[in-house]
Symmetry: C2
Subunit: 160 residues, 2 copies
């Protein structure tokens, strides 16, 4: 089945562009990224429970979450800062998978209203080097993100 979340990366560049259309009003799509209780719901799956440890959801605020296995062992933690937050339009943030060799990334998330009930997310992630970006692309990154976005659609549909 074709993935709904599309990943685009050009040879030799530092960046990845991810796009996905949702059957959700843009306000809900934005909320899914900025309200910790909702974020935990769609980020959690059968093999990992996501818990938000810090979430200052405003310009210059910091965030951190962890992912734990069914036995409660922490699989990874991630953290970053919000450089800019424009409700229902844009988030600019840093992202670091702690302990990962991928280093810190800069992410531009753009939220676009298509109709009253549909919206588009465009994520533009910039890596420190093209080589680090290519390391990410060798991992099952696109499949994982597509599944996370499927869960986002399902969880948020119930809030409509």
């Amino acid at each position: 089945m074709e993935r709904k979340t599309k990943v685009h990366a050009e040879e030799g560049k530092h960046d990845v562009v991810i796009t996905r259309e949702f059957d959700l009003p843009v306000e809900l799509l934005f909320k899914a990224h900025m309200e910790p209780e909702i974020f935990e719901q769609w980020m959690t799956h059968d093999y990992g429970t996501v818990k938000v440890l810090k979430f200052e959801n405003k310009k210059h605020g910091g965030w951190q979450f962890q992912n734990a296995d069914p036995n409660g062992n922490v699989v990874f933690r991630a953290n970053g800062v919000f450089h800019e937050v424009i409700p229902n339009q844009k988030i600019i943030r840093t992202f670091e998978m702690e302990g990962s060799p991928l280093e810190v990334q800069l992410e531009f998330l753009e939220f676009e209203k298509l109709t009253d009930d549909t919206s588009r997310l465009r994520m533009h992630s910039i890596y420190r080097t093209p080589e680090l970006r290519d390391q990410l692309l060798k991992q099952p990154f696109a499949a994982g993100l597509n599944m996370a976005h499927n869960r986002l659609q399902n969880v948020l549909s119930k809030l409509k």
Copy 2:
């Protein structure tokens, strides 16, 4: 005269690497970047006075400064967040010249002790696109940074 601050940028990439050696202990070089009173001193020049508006000098802290002309008119403001701060070793931060088309950048500053009295700064700045980076390089960026680093050397020498 040859500039002491070196700027290196490869065709088609998103990044710029800036290096400079200082006749300063690494602790003072680090302080110059993380103590607002000292930062204001070396960033201020004949045509512009720098005033720090916000400076939370720690991991996940935010910062903002402004540059005003001799008549007190604000020429520009810049702001960002510290993603990571490791004293005398590393700063990872975002940087935005407000109102500029260059968008937000991600910067990795690495501080290296050479001897007890000398140190090296390596700044690795990542732009959203290669085109935005090239716009920056068309500006008198390297000359301005070299002059700022000369002032840093002079101001901090007095603190040794």
